[in-house]
Amino acid sequence: MSANHGRAFVYGDGINTDMLAPGIYMKHPIATIAQHCLESVDPDFVRTVKPGDVLVAGQGFGIGSSREQAAEALKYLGVAAVLARSYGGIFYRNALNFGLPVLVCSEVDQIGAGDLVRVDPATGAVHNKTRDVTLKASPLPQFLLDMISDGGLVPHLEKRFAAKRAAAAL
Protein backbone atom coordinates (compact mmCIF):
# COMPACT_ATOMS: atom_id res chain seq x y z
CA MET A 1 0.00 0.00 0.00
CA SER A 2 1.25 3.49 -0.82
CA ALA A 3 2.06 5.21 2.48
CA ASN A 4 0.64 8.58 1.54
CA HIS A 5 -2.39 9.90 -0.20
CA GLY A 6 -1.92 11.21 -3.71
CA ARG A 7 -3.93 13.67 -5.73
CA ALA A 8 -6.45 12.25 -8.19
CA PHE A 9 -6.30 13.10 -11.88
CA VAL A 10 -9.73 12.23 -13.21
CA TYR A 11 -10.46 11.42 -16.87
CA GLY A 12 -13.34 9.83 -18.74
CA ASP A 13 -13.81 6.74 -20.89
CA GLY A 14 -11.56 5.50 -23.67
CA ILE A 15 -8.15 6.86 -22.63
CA ASN A 16 -6.17 4.94 -25.27
CA THR A 17 -2.53 4.12 -25.90
CA ASP A 18 -2.16 6.78 -28.61
CA MET A 19 -3.05 9.34 -25.91
CA LEU A 20 -0.75 7.82 -23.30
CA ALA A 21 2.22 7.28 -25.65
CA PRO A 22 1.70 9.02 -29.03
CA GLY A 23 3.10 6.96 -31.93
CA ILE A 24 5.13 9.83 -33.35
CA TYR A 25 7.39 9.84 -30.25
CA MET A 26 7.79 6.07 -30.05
CA LYS A 27 11.33 5.99 -31.44
CA HIS A 28 12.50 8.11 -28.51
CA PRO A 29 13.45 7.03 -24.98
CA ILE A 30 10.77 6.88 -22.27
CA ALA A 31 11.89 10.23 -20.80
CA THR A 32 10.80 11.92 -24.05
CA ILE A 33 7.64 9.87 -24.58
CA ALA A 34 6.54 10.61 -21.00
CA GLN A 35 6.70 14.36 -21.66
CA HIS A 36 3.85 13.89 -24.16
CA CYS A 37 1.74 11.54 -22.04
CA LEU A 38 -1.96 12.51 -22.24
CA GLU A 39 -1.13 15.85 -23.92
CA SER A 40 -4.04 15.51 -26.35
CA VAL A 41 -6.44 15.07 -23.41
CA ASP A 42 -4.93 17.27 -20.71
CA PRO A 43 -2.03 19.50 -21.79
CA ASP A 44 -1.29 20.30 -18.10
CA PHE A 45 -1.00 16.67 -16.95
CA VAL A 46 2.74 16.19 -17.31
CA ARG A 47 3.48 19.62 -15.84
CA THR A 48 1.32 19.08 -12.76
CA VAL A 49 1.48 15.36 -11.94
CA LYS A 50 3.68 14.47 -8.94
CA PRO A 51 5.03 11.15 -7.67
CA GLY A 52 2.34 9.41 -5.63
CA ASP A 53 -0.59 10.84 -7.59
CA VAL A 54 -3.37 8.54 -8.77
CA LEU A 55 -5.07 8.32 -12.17
CA VAL A 56 -8.81 7.77 -12.18
CA ALA A 57 -10.78 6.96 -15.34
CA GLY A 58 -13.86 5.28 -16.75
CA GLN A 59 -14.21 2.44 -19.25
CA GLY A 60 -11.43 1.07 -21.42
CA PHE A 61 -8.36 2.71 -19.91
CA GLY A 62 -5.37 1.83 -22.12
CA ILE A 63 -7.25 0.33 -25.07
CA GLY A 64 -5.33 0.11 -28.34
CA SER A 65 -1.72 -0.74 -28.97
CA SER A 66 0.58 -3.21 -27.21
CA ARG A 67 3.12 -0.42 -26.74
CA GLU A 68 4.02 -0.71 -23.11
CA GLN A 69 5.42 2.80 -23.06
CA ALA A 70 1.78 3.75 -22.37
CA ALA A 71 2.14 2.13 -18.92
CA GLU A 72 5.84 2.89 -18.58
CA ALA A 73 5.23 6.64 -19.08
CA LEU A 74 2.80 6.68 -16.13
CA LYS A 75 5.29 4.79 -13.99
CA TYR A 76 8.07 7.15 -15.12
CA LEU A 77 5.99 10.16 -14.09
CA GLY A 78 5.53 8.61 -10.65
CA VAL A 79 1.86 7.71 -10.87
CA ALA A 80 1.21 5.44 -7.84
CA ALA A 81 -1.88 3.62 -9.10
CA VAL A 82 -4.65 3.67 -11.69
CA LEU A 83 -8.32 3.16 -10.89
CA ALA A 84 -10.70 2.59 -13.80
CA ARG A 85 -13.98 0.87 -14.52
CA SER A 86 -12.21 -1.37 -17.07
CA TYR A 87 -8.93 -1.69 -18.99
CA GLY A 88 -7.54 -2.57 -22.36
CA GLY A 89 -6.30 -6.15 -21.92
CA ILE A 90 -2.70 -5.68 -23.04
CA PHE A 91 -2.27 -2.38 -21.19
CA TYR A 92 -3.52 -4.04 -18.00
CA ARG A 93 -0.81 -6.71 -18.17
CA ASN A 94 1.84 -4.18 -19.20
CA ALA A 95 1.07 -1.94 -16.22
CA LEU A 96 1.38 -4.82 -13.75
CA ASN A 97 4.61 -5.86 -15.45
CA PHE A 98 5.98 -2.37 -14.74
CA GLY A 99 4.93 -2.61 -11.11
CA LEU A 100 2.11 -0.12 -11.57
CA PRO A 101 -0.98 -1.21 -9.64
CA VAL A 102 -4.06 -1.01 -11.90
CA LEU A 103 -7.30 -1.79 -10.16
CA VAL A 104 -10.80 -2.23 -11.47
CA CYS A 105 -13.07 0.13 -9.52
CA SER A 106 -16.75 0.70 -10.26
CA GLU A 107 -17.00 3.55 -7.73
CA VAL A 108 -14.70 5.99 -9.55
CA ASP A 109 -17.51 8.54 -9.72
CA GLN A 110 -16.90 9.13 -6.00
CA ILE A 111 -13.49 10.61 -6.75
CA GLY A 112 -13.15 14.19 -7.98
CA ALA A 113 -10.18 15.88 -9.61
CA GLY A 114 -7.69 16.84 -6.92
CA ASP A 115 -9.17 14.58 -4.19
CA LEU A 116 -6.57 12.96 -1.97
CA VAL A 117 -6.73 9.17 -2.38
CA ARG A 118 -4.76 6.14 -1.23
CA VAL A 119 -5.01 2.73 -2.90
CA ASP A 120 -4.32 -0.65 -1.27
CA PRO A 121 -3.91 -3.21 -4.07
CA ALA A 122 -3.94 -6.14 -1.59
CA THR A 123 -7.38 -5.40 -0.16
CA GLY A 124 -8.79 -3.19 -2.92
CA ALA A 125 -9.56 -0.46 -0.39
CA VAL A 126 -9.46 3.04 -1.84
CA HIS A 127 -9.48 5.78 0.78
CA ASN A 128 -10.72 9.16 -0.41
CA LYS A 129 -9.44 11.46 2.32
CA THR A 130 -11.00 14.58 0.82
CA ARG A 131 -14.51 13.09 0.97
CA ASP A 132 -13.78 10.83 3.93
CA VAL A 133 -15.07 7.68 2.22
CA THR A 134 -13.50 4.29 1.56
CA LEU A 135 -14.35 2.83 -1.84
CA LYS A 136 -14.02 -0.71 -3.08
CA ALA A 137 -11.81 -1.83 -5.94
CA SER A 138 -11.01 -5.41 -6.99
CA PRO A 139 -7.88 -6.56 -5.15
CA LEU A 140 -5.02 -8.17 -7.07
CA PRO A 141 -4.12 -11.86 -6.59
CA GLN A 142 -1.09 -12.66 -4.45
CA PHE A 143 1.27 -13.65 -7.29
CA LEU A 144 0.74 -10.29 -8.95
CA LEU A 145 1.18 -8.47 -5.63
CA ASP A 146 4.50 -10.30 -5.24
CA MET A 147 5.56 -9.19 -8.72
CA ILE A 148 4.54 -5.59 -8.00
CA SER A 149 6.33 -5.54 -4.65
CA ASP A 150 9.48 -6.76 -6.42
CA GLY A 151 9.10 -3.71 -8.67
CA GLY A 152 7.58 -5.44 -11.70
CA LEU A 153 8.24 -8.45 -13.95
CA VAL A 154 11.89 -7.66 -14.74
CA PRO A 155 13.18 -7.38 -11.15
CA HIS A 156 10.88 -10.29 -10.23
CA LEU A 157 12.42 -12.59 -12.86
CA GLU A 158 15.88 -11.19 -12.20
CA LYS A 159 15.49 -12.39 -8.62
CA ARG A 160 14.27 -15.79 -9.83
CA PHE A 161 17.17 -16.30 -12.23
CA ALA A 162 19.70 -15.12 -9.62
CA ALA A 163 18.27 -17.61 -7.11
CA LYS A 164 18.49 -20.36 -9.72
CA ARG A 165 22.13 -19.50 -10.40
CA ALA A 166 22.91 -19.40 -6.68
CA ALA A 167 21.29 -22.82 -6.22
CA ALA A 168 23.27 -24.23 -9.12
CA ALA A 169 26.53 -22.86 -7.69
CA LEU A 170 26.05 -24.68 -4.38
Binding site: K27, G60, I90, N94, F98, P141, F143, V154, L157
Partner: protein
Protein backbone atom coordinates in the same frame (compact mmCIF):
# COMPACT_ATOMS: atom_id res chain seq x y z
CA UNK B 1 -15.90 -32.31 -20.11
CA UNK B 2 -16.80 -30.37 -23.25
CA UNK B 3 -14.37 -27.61 -24.14
CA UNK B 4 -14.47 -24.69 -26.56
CA UNK B 5 -11.58 -24.39 -29.03
CA UNK B 6 -10.00 -21.65 -26.86
CA UNK B 7 -10.23 -23.82 -23.74
CA UNK B 8 -8.78 -26.80 -25.59
CA UNK B 9 -5.71 -24.89 -26.71
CA UNK B 10 -5.15 -23.22 -23.34
CA UNK B 11 -5.55 -26.54 -21.51
CA UNK B 12 -3.00 -28.19 -23.78
CA UNK B 13 -0.55 -25.28 -23.30
CA UNK B 14 -1.11 -25.40 -19.52
CA UNK B 15 -0.51 -29.18 -19.57
CA UNK B 16 -3.97 -29.80 -18.18
CA UNK B 17 -6.84 -32.04 -19.27
CA UNK B 18 -9.32 -29.19 -18.89
CA UNK B 19 -9.48 -25.60 -17.72
CA UNK B 20 -12.28 -23.38 -16.41
CA UNK B 21 -12.78 -19.77 -17.51
CA UNK B 22 -11.54 -17.34 -14.85
CA UNK B 23 -8.81 -19.52 -13.35
CA UNK B 24 -5.21 -18.39 -13.73
CA UNK B 25 -2.86 -20.87 -15.40
CA UNK B 26 0.73 -20.88 -16.61
CA UNK B 27 1.05 -21.77 -20.28
CA UNK B 28 3.98 -23.04 -22.33
CA UNK B 29 4.42 -20.88 -25.42
CA UNK B 30 4.72 -22.67 -28.80
CA UNK B 31 5.88 -19.60 -30.72
CA UNK B 32 6.78 -15.99 -29.96
CA UNK B 33 6.68 -13.33 -32.67
CA UNK B 34 8.53 -10.04 -32.19
CA UNK B 35 9.04 -6.99 -34.40
CA UNK B 36 11.61 -4.23 -34.71
CA UNK B 37 9.78 -1.73 -32.51
CA UNK B 38 8.95 -3.81 -29.44
CA UNK B 39 11.49 -6.58 -30.15
CA UNK B 40 15.28 -6.67 -29.88
CA UNK B 41 15.81 -3.02 -28.94
CA UNK B 42 13.57 -3.52 -25.91
CA UNK B 43 13.96 -7.19 -24.98
CA UNK B 44 17.73 -7.61 -25.44
CA UNK B 45 18.67 -5.28 -22.52
CA UNK B 46 16.19 -7.13 -20.27
CA UNK B 47 17.56 -10.57 -21.22
CA UNK B 48 20.99 -9.21 -20.41
CA UNK B 49 19.78 -8.21 -16.94
CA UNK B 50 18.41 -11.72 -16.44
CA UNK B 51 21.74 -13.15 -17.57
CA UNK B 52 20.03 -15.63 -19.89
CA UNK B 53 19.47 -16.08 -23.61
CA UNK B 54 16.35 -17.13 -25.50
CA UNK B 55 14.57 -20.10 -23.97
CA UNK B 56 14.27 -21.66 -27.42
CA UNK B 57 15.39 -19.67 -30.51
CA UNK B 58 13.64 -22.23 -32.75
CA UNK B 59 10.34 -20.92 -31.36
CA UNK B 60 11.02 -17.24 -32.03
CA UNK B 61 10.25 -15.33 -35.23
CA UNK B 62 11.51 -11.77 -35.77
CA UNK B 63 9.99 -9.47 -38.38
CA UNK B 64 11.10 -5.90 -39.20
CA UNK B 65 8.07 -3.89 -40.26
CA UNK B 66 7.64 -0.77 -38.09
CA UNK B 67 10.76 1.30 -38.79
CA UNK B 68 10.95 0.20 -42.41
CA UNK B 69 12.53 1.73 -44.37
CA UNK B 70 14.77 3.61 -41.96
CA UNK B 71 14.11 7.33 -42.17
CA UNK B 72 16.73 8.85 -39.85
CA UNK B 73 19.66 7.98 -37.57
CA UNK B 74 17.40 6.76 -34.78
CA UNK B 75 15.45 4.35 -36.97
CA UNK B 76 18.64 3.20 -38.73
CA UNK B 77 20.02 2.34 -35.30
CA UNK B 78 16.85 0.37 -34.49
CA UNK B 79 17.33 -1.59 -37.75
CA UNK B 80 20.94 -2.38 -36.82
CA UNK B 81 19.99 -3.58 -33.34
CA UNK B 82 17.32 -5.81 -34.91
CA UNK B 83 19.67 -7.36 -37.48
CA UNK B 84 22.37 -7.89 -34.84
CA UNK B 85 19.88 -9.80 -32.67
CA UNK B 86 18.92 -11.98 -35.65
CA UNK B 87 22.57 -12.66 -36.44
CA UNK B 88 23.33 -13.68 -32.84
CA UNK B 89 20.37 -16.06 -32.43
CA UNK B 90 19.35 -19.04 -34.54
CA UNK B 91 15.74 -17.95 -34.88
CA UNK B 92 12.90 -19.89 -36.50
CA UNK B 93 12.69 -16.98 -38.92
CA UNK B 94 13.92 -13.44 -39.55
CA UNK B 95 12.13 -11.39 -42.18
CA UNK B 96 13.64 -7.96 -42.77
CA UNK B 97 11.48 -5.50 -44.71
CA UNK B 98 9.42 -8.31 -46.25
CA UNK B 99 6.09 -7.00 -45.00
CA UNK B 100 3.94 -6.64 -41.92
CA UNK B 101 4.43 -9.26 -39.21
CA UNK B 102 0.81 -10.43 -38.97
CA UNK B 103 0.74 -11.15 -42.69
CA UNK B 104 4.29 -12.49 -43.07
CA UNK B 105 4.05 -14.93 -40.12
CA UNK B 106 1.34 -17.18 -41.65
CA UNK B 107 2.50 -16.49 -45.22
CA UNK B 108 5.80 -18.24 -44.29
CA UNK B 109 4.04 -21.18 -42.66
CA UNK B 110 4.70 -20.44 -38.98
CA UNK B 111 1.12 -20.90 -37.76
CA UNK B 112 -1.09 -23.95 -37.52
CA UNK B 113 -4.24 -24.92 -35.62
CA UNK B 114 -3.92 -25.62 -31.91
CA UNK B 115 -0.77 -23.54 -31.33
CA UNK B 116 -0.45 -21.22 -28.31
CA UNK B 117 1.33 -18.13 -29.62
CA UNK B 118 2.24 -14.69 -28.28
CA UNK B 119 3.08 -11.68 -30.42
CA UNK B 120 4.66 -8.40 -29.42
CA UNK B 121 1.96 -6.36 -31.12
CA UNK B 122 -1.67 -5.60 -30.40
CA UNK B 123 -2.90 -7.02 -33.71
CA UNK B 124 -1.53 -10.47 -32.83
CA UNK B 125 -5.06 -11.92 -32.57
CA UNK B 126 -4.68 -12.19 -36.37
CA UNK B 127 -3.18 -15.64 -35.78
CA UNK B 128 -6.53 -16.76 -34.39
CA UNK B 129 -7.75 -17.02 -37.99
CA UNK B 130 -5.71 -20.24 -38.19
CA UNK B 131 -7.27 -21.75 -35.08
CA UNK B 132 -4.22 -20.82 -33.01
CA UNK B 133 -4.61 -19.05 -29.64
CA UNK B 134 -2.52 -16.00 -30.49
CA UNK B 135 -2.57 -12.74 -28.57
CA UNK B 136 -0.58 -9.56 -28.09
CA UNK B 137 1.67 -8.66 -25.17
CA UNK B 138 4.05 -5.79 -24.40
CA UNK B 139 7.82 -5.90 -24.76
CA UNK B 140 8.66 -6.47 -21.10
CA UNK B 141 6.25 -9.36 -20.86
CA UNK B 142 7.75 -10.66 -24.12
CA UNK B 143 11.21 -10.55 -22.52
CA UNK B 144 9.80 -12.73 -19.76
CA UNK B 145 8.44 -15.18 -22.34
CA UNK B 146 11.70 -15.22 -24.29
CA UNK B 147 13.61 -16.02 -21.08
CA UNK B 148 11.23 -18.62 -19.64
CA UNK B 149 9.01 -19.91 -22.48
CA UNK B 150 6.01 -19.38 -20.22
CA UNK B 151 3.25 -16.86 -19.56
CA UNK B 152 0.35 -16.60 -17.10
CA UNK B 153 -3.13 -16.38 -18.46
CA UNK B 154 -6.60 -15.96 -17.07
CA UNK B 155 -8.49 -18.74 -18.85
CA UNK B 156 -10.78 -16.85 -21.22
CA UNK B 157 -14.49 -17.19 -21.65
CA UNK B 158 -15.54 -17.85 -25.23
CA UNK B 159 -17.73 -15.29 -26.99
CA UNK B 160 -19.14 -16.86 -30.14
CA UNK B 161 -20.06 -14.50 -32.94
CA UNK B 162 -21.95 -16.35 -35.62
CA UNK B 163 -22.69 -15.00 -39.11
CA UNK B 164 -25.28 -16.91 -41.09
CA UNK B 165 -26.15 -16.56 -44.76
CA UNK B 166 -24.22 -14.80 -47.50
CA UNK B 167 -22.55 -11.39 -47.52
CA UNK B 168 -23.81 -9.09 -50.26
CA UNK B 169 -21.66 -7.47 -52.96
CA UNK B 170 -18.84 -5.24 -51.65
CA UNK B 171 -19.50 -6.38 -48.07
CA UNK B 172 -16.35 -7.86 -46.57
CA UNK B 173 -14.59 -8.76 -43.32
CA UNK B 174 -13.68 -5.12 -42.62
CA UNK B 175 -17.38 -4.20 -42.71
CA UNK B 176 -18.13 -7.07 -40.31
CA UNK B 177 -15.59 -5.80 -37.82
CA UNK B 178 -16.52 -2.12 -38.07
CA UNK B 179 -20.16 -3.14 -37.61
CA UNK B 180 -19.29 -5.25 -34.55
CA UNK B 181 -17.18 -2.42 -33.07
CA UNK B 182 -20.16 -0.11 -33.60
CA UNK B 183 -22.59 -2.58 -32.02
CA UNK B 184 -20.51 -3.95 -29.15
CA UNK B 185 -17.98 -1.14 -28.60
CA UNK B 186 -14.23 -1.47 -28.30
CA UNK B 187 -14.59 -3.52 -25.14
CA UNK B 188 -17.20 -5.93 -26.46
CA UNK B 189 -14.57 -8.67 -26.41
CA UNK B 190 -13.83 -8.11 -22.67
CA UNK B 191 -10.29 -9.49 -23.17
CA UNK B 192 -11.91 -12.91 -23.69
CA UNK B 193 -11.67 -15.30 -26.64
CA UNK B 194 -13.86 -14.19 -29.54
CA UNK B 195 -14.77 -17.10 -31.81
CA UNK B 196 -16.12 -16.36 -35.30
CA UNK B 197 -18.43 -19.06 -36.61
CA UNK B 198 -21.21 -19.73 -39.07
CA UNK B 199 -21.52 -20.53 -42.77
CA UNK B 200 -20.78 -16.92 -43.81
CA UNK B 201 -17.40 -17.12 -42.03
CA UNK B 202 -16.62 -20.60 -43.39
CA UNK B 203 -17.10 -19.23 -46.90
CA UNK B 204 -14.37 -16.58 -46.40
CA UNK B 205 -10.84 -17.04 -47.77
CA UNK B 206 -7.99 -17.12 -45.23
CA UNK B 207 -6.92 -13.50 -45.63
CA UNK B 208 -10.48 -12.29 -44.99
CA UNK B 209 -10.64 -14.42 -41.85
CA UNK B 210 -7.33 -12.78 -40.86
CA UNK B 211 -9.03 -9.38 -41.09
CA UNK B 212 -11.73 -10.57 -38.68
CA UNK B 213 -9.20 -11.94 -36.23
CA UNK B 214 -6.93 -8.90 -36.63
CA UNK B 215 -9.62 -6.42 -35.70
CA UNK B 216 -10.62 -8.48 -32.69
CA UNK B 217 -8.01 -6.16 -31.16
CA UNK B 218 -10.39 -3.24 -31.81
CA UNK B 219 -13.29 -5.30 -30.48
CA UNK B 220 -11.35 -5.81 -27.24
CA UNK B 221 -10.99 -9.59 -27.48
CA UNK B 222 -7.76 -11.27 -26.41
CA UNK B 223 -7.80 -13.42 -29.52
CA UNK B 224 -10.18 -13.93 -32.46
CA UNK B 225 -10.52 -17.58 -33.42
CA UNK B 226 -11.92 -19.08 -36.61
CA UNK B 227 -12.67 -22.79 -36.98
CA UNK B 228 -9.79 -24.48 -38.80
CA UNK B 229 -10.99 -26.28 -41.92
CA UNK B 230 -9.91 -27.26 -45.43
CA UNK B 231 -9.38 -23.57 -46.34
CA UNK B 232 -6.97 -23.26 -43.39
CA UNK B 233 -5.13 -26.44 -44.29
CA UNK B 234 -4.78 -25.44 -47.95
CA UNK B 235 -3.32 -22.03 -47.01
CA UNK B 236 -0.77 -23.62 -44.65
CA UNK B 237 0.26 -26.21 -47.27
CA UNK B 238 0.68 -23.44 -49.86
CA UNK B 239 2.96 -21.72 -47.34
CA UNK B 240 5.13 -24.84 -47.33
CA UNK B 241 4.10 -26.19 -43.93
CA UNK B 242 1.97 -29.00 -42.52
CA UNK B 243 -1.38 -28.08 -40.96
CA UNK B 244 -1.28 -30.91 -38.41
CA UNK B 245 -4.39 -32.40 -36.85
CA UNK B 246 -7.10 -29.97 -38.04
CA UNK B 247 -9.93 -32.22 -36.82
CA UNK B 248 -8.60 -32.12 -33.23
CA UNK B 249 -8.71 -28.33 -32.94
CA UNK B 250 -12.47 -27.81 -32.98
CA UNK B 251 -14.86 -26.82 -30.21
CA UNK B 252 -16.63 -29.82 -28.74
CA UNK B 253 -20.22 -29.89 -30.05
CA UNK B 254 -21.69 -29.55 -26.55
CA UNK B 255 -19.19 -26.93 -25.30
CA UNK B 256 -20.80 -23.91 -23.67
CA UNK B 257 -19.63 -20.48 -24.77
CA UNK B 258 -20.26 -17.64 -22.29
CA UNK B 259 -22.10 -15.65 -24.96
CA UNK B 260 -23.41 -16.44 -28.40
CA UNK B 261 -24.28 -13.57 -30.74
CA UNK B 262 -25.92 -14.24 -34.11
CA UNK B 263 -26.04 -11.98 -37.14
CA UNK B 264 -27.54 -12.19 -40.61
CA UNK B 265 -24.80 -11.73 -43.21
CA UNK B 266 -27.19 -10.70 -45.97
CA UNK B 267 -28.40 -7.72 -43.91
CA UNK B 268 -24.94 -6.16 -43.53
CA UNK B 269 -24.03 -3.12 -45.66
CA UNK B 270 -20.67 -1.41 -46.20
CA UNK B 271 -19.65 0.33 -42.96
CA UNK B 272 -17.57 3.43 -42.26
CA UNK B 273 -16.24 4.50 -38.84
CA UNK B 274 -16.02 8.23 -38.15
CA UNK B 275 -13.17 9.88 -36.20
CA UNK B 276 -11.81 9.04 -33.64
CA UNK B 277 -12.89 5.46 -32.90
CA UNK B 278 -13.73 2.26 -34.79
CA UNK B 279 -16.81 2.15 -32.54
CA UNK B 280 -18.18 5.18 -34.45
CA UNK B 281 -19.19 2.85 -37.27
CA UNK B 282 -22.36 3.36 -39.30
CA UNK B 283 -23.58 2.46 -42.80
CA UNK B 284 -21.56 4.25 -45.47
CA UNK B 285 -24.62 6.28 -46.54
CA UNK B 286 -24.52 8.11 -43.21
CA UNK B 287 -21.18 9.70 -44.17
CA UNK B 288 -22.02 10.54 -47.79
CA UNK B 289 -21.25 14.24 -47.74
CA UNK B 290 -17.78 14.02 -46.25
CA UNK B 291 -15.11 15.22 -48.64
CA UNK B 292 -11.74 13.51 -48.39
CA UNK B 293 -8.16 14.59 -49.11
CA UNK B 294 -6.36 11.27 -48.69
CA UNK B 295 -7.44 7.70 -49.43
CA UNK B 296 -5.15 5.13 -47.84
CA UNK B 297 -5.00 1.39 -48.39
CA UNK B 298 -2.49 -0.11 -46.02
CA UNK B 299 -1.68 -2.16 -42.94
CA UNK B 300 -1.99 -5.80 -41.93
CA UNK B 301 -5.73 -5.47 -41.78
CA UNK B 302 -6.28 -3.63 -45.06
CA UNK B 303 -3.65 -4.20 -47.75
CA UNK B 304 -3.25 -7.93 -48.24
CA UNK B 305 -3.65 -9.34 -51.74
CA UNK B 306 -7.40 -9.86 -51.22
CA UNK B 307 -7.67 -6.21 -50.16
CA UNK B 308 -5.65 -4.93 -53.12
CA UNK B 309 -7.91 -6.92 -55.47
CA UNK B 310 -11.01 -5.37 -53.88
CA UNK B 311 -9.61 -1.89 -54.50
CA UNK B 312 -8.61 -2.79 -58.05
CA UNK B 313 -12.08 -4.05 -58.92
CA UNK B 314 -13.39 -0.54 -58.19
CA UNK B 315 -10.46 1.35 -59.74
CA UNK B 316 -10.31 -0.59 -63.02
CA UNK B 317 -10.68 1.88 -65.92
CA UNK B 318 -11.24 4.71 -63.43
CA UNK B 319 -9.13 7.58 -62.14
CA UNK B 320 -8.74 8.90 -58.63
CA UNK B 321 -10.39 12.32 -58.20
CA UNK B 322 -7.73 15.03 -58.76
CA UNK B 323 -8.34 16.43 -55.27
CA UNK B 324 -7.46 13.11 -53.60
CA UNK B 325 -4.11 11.40 -52.92
CA UNK B 326 -4.48 7.63 -53.08
CA UNK B 327 -1.72 5.92 -51.12
CA UNK B 328 -1.27 2.14 -51.27
CA UNK B 329 1.14 0.21 -49.03
CA UNK B 330 0.82 -3.52 -49.89
CA UNK B 331 1.01 -5.52 -46.64
CA UNK B 332 3.79 -7.84 -47.75
CA UNK B 333 6.36 -8.18 -50.46
CA UNK B 334 4.82 -11.48 -51.57
CA UNK B 335 1.37 -9.95 -51.77
CA UNK B 336 2.80 -7.08 -53.81
CA UNK B 337 4.42 -9.61 -56.18
CA UNK B 338 1.11 -11.42 -56.50
CA UNK B 339 -0.57 -8.10 -57.26
CA UNK B 340 2.09 -7.32 -59.85
CA UNK B 341 1.73 -10.66 -61.61
CA UNK B 342 -2.08 -10.66 -61.86
CA UNK B 343 -2.38 -7.05 -63.03
CA UNK B 344 -3.86 -5.71 -59.78
CA UNK B 345 -0.94 -3.40 -59.12
CA UNK B 346 -1.06 -1.92 -62.64
CA UNK B 347 -4.74 -1.08 -62.21
CA UNK B 348 -3.99 0.76 -58.95
CA UNK B 349 -1.10 2.69 -60.47
CA UNK B 350 -3.04 3.54 -63.63
CA UNK B 351 -5.81 4.95 -61.46
CA UNK B 352 -3.27 7.28 -59.84
CA UNK B 353 -2.16 5.44 -56.72
CA UNK B 354 1.19 6.17 -55.10
CA UNK B 355 2.88 3.01 -53.83
CA UNK B 356 4.43 2.99 -50.36
CA UNK B 357 6.79 0.43 -48.76
CA UNK B 358 5.54 -2.98 -47.53
CA UNK B 359 5.47 -1.89 -43.89
CA UNK B 360 3.27 -0.56 -41.11
CA UNK B 361 4.08 2.95 -42.32
CA UNK B 362 1.33 5.50 -41.79
CA UNK B 363 -0.78 3.12 -39.72
CA UNK B 364 0.74 3.78 -36.29
CA UNK B 365 2.19 7.09 -37.42
CA UNK B 366 5.70 5.66 -37.04
CA UNK B 367 6.89 6.26 -40.53
CA UNK B 368 5.28 8.87 -42.73
CA UNK B 369 2.38 10.86 -41.34
CA UNK B 370 -0.70 12.69 -42.56
CA UNK B 371 -0.51 16.45 -42.98
CA UNK B 372 -2.26 18.77 -40.54
CA UNK B 373 -6.05 19.02 -40.81
CA UNK B 374 -6.51 16.56 -43.67
CA UNK B 375 -9.47 14.23 -43.92
CA UNK B 376 -8.48 10.66 -44.73
CA UNK B 377 -10.35 7.43 -45.35
CA UNK B 378 -8.24 4.36 -44.71
CA UNK B 379 -8.49 0.58 -44.64
CA UNK B 380 -6.38 0.40 -41.44
CA UNK B 381 -7.74 -0.96 -38.16
CA UNK B 382 -8.01 2.01 -35.84
CA UNK B 383 -8.56 5.74 -36.17
CA UNK B 384 -7.68 7.12 -32.77
CA UNK B 385 -6.83 10.80 -32.67
CA UNK B 386 -3.22 11.13 -33.79
CA UNK B 387 -3.05 7.51 -35.01
CA UNK B 388 -1.54 8.44 -38.37
CA UNK B 389 0.89 10.88 -36.77
CA UNK B 390 -1.19 14.06 -36.82
CA UNK B 391 -3.69 14.89 -34.09
CA UNK B 392 -5.55 17.39 -36.29
CA UNK B 393 -6.27 14.82 -39.02
CA UNK B 394 -9.71 13.24 -39.30
CA UNK B 395 -9.49 9.55 -40.10
CA UNK B 396 -12.44 7.52 -41.36
CA UNK B 397 -12.21 3.74 -41.67
CA UNK B 398 -13.69 1.62 -44.42
CA UNK B 399 -13.08 -1.51 -46.48
CA UNK B 400 -10.70 -1.39 -49.44
CA UNK B 401 -13.81 -1.29 -51.68
CA UNK B 402 -15.12 1.75 -49.84
CA UNK B 403 -11.74 3.50 -49.73
CA UNK B 404 -11.29 2.99 -53.49
CA UNK B 405 -14.81 4.22 -54.31
CA UNK B 406 -14.25 7.28 -52.11
CA UNK B 407 -10.93 7.99 -53.85
CA UNK B 408 -12.68 8.08 -57.23
CA UNK B 409 -15.53 10.33 -56.10
CA UNK B 410 -13.53 12.58 -53.76
CA UNK B 411 -16.01 11.98 -50.96
CA UNK B 412 -17.01 9.01 -48.85
CA UNK B 413 -18.94 6.75 -51.23
CA UNK B 414 -20.78 3.45 -51.33
CA UNK B 415 -18.79 1.06 -53.56
CA UNK B 416 -21.99 -0.75 -54.55
CA UNK B 417 -22.95 2.29 -56.63
CA UNK B 418 -19.84 1.76 -58.74
CA UNK B 419 -19.82 -2.02 -59.06
CA UNK B 420 -23.04 -3.49 -60.34
Amino acid sequence: MALTLAEKIVARAARRTHVTPGEIVTCAVDLAMIHDSGGPRRVAPILKRFGVGLWDPSKVVLISDHYVPAADDETRRIGEVTRKFAAENKLAGFYDSEGICHVVLPERGHLKPGMFVVGGDSHSPTGGAFGAYMFGIGATEMAGVLATGEIWLTVPETIEIEWRGTFGPCVVAKDVMLFLCGQLGMEGGRTQAVHFRGDAIRALPMQERMTLSNMTAELGGQTGLCDPDETTAAFIRAAGAEPGDVARWQSDPDAMPAECLRFDASALTPQVAAPHSPANAAPVADHGAVKIDVAHIGACTGAKIVDLRMAASVLKDRKVDPSVSLLVAPASHRDQEAAASDGTLQILVDAGATLLPNACGMCAGYNGTLEENVTCISSIARNFKGRMGTASANIYLGSPYTVAASAVRGRISDPREMLS
